[in-house]
Symmetry: C2
Subunit: 75 residues, 2 copies
């Protein structure tokens, strides 16, 4: 099972309990949701929805995560 | 009313009919959803959910959009 993730439409606290550290190829990523840190959670949260529908928390500080986001935008 | 946006959980076509060109301050952005181009839609789609719950399509090529995404990740 991937890193634990609490999910609801409007989350009033952190949604990611841990992050997936291994590289995920962009072709397996359906979309990426970025939630800035805020009163609800002190962490920036990056949640990728994979092609198979699973949601995975990614580390916003990981270089490969930043590269994937850049690649998505620049495509 | 913001740029037209068709919405559903799993969208099988483009969700953005147009994009919001004016700068939006990050403090008004609750989260940002990035959808890579794919068979469902040839455009990369960047959809921001604002603090008031409205969803707005942003232009992935606009420098200020890239800066906001970078700022969110780097915070």
């Amino acid at each position: 099972k991937g890193p634990a993730l609490r999910g609801s439409a409007l989350e009033l606290r952190c949604q990611c309990l841990s992050t997936h550290s291994r590289f995920i190829h962009p072709k397996f990523i359906r979309n990426v949701n970025l939630t800035p840190s805020g009163p609800h959670c002190k962490n920036v949260e990056v949640i990728a929805t994979l092609a198979d529908g699973r949601e995975v928390c990614l580390d916003p500080a990981a270089p490969w995560v930043k590269l994937i986001i850049k690649a998505i935008l620049d495509k």
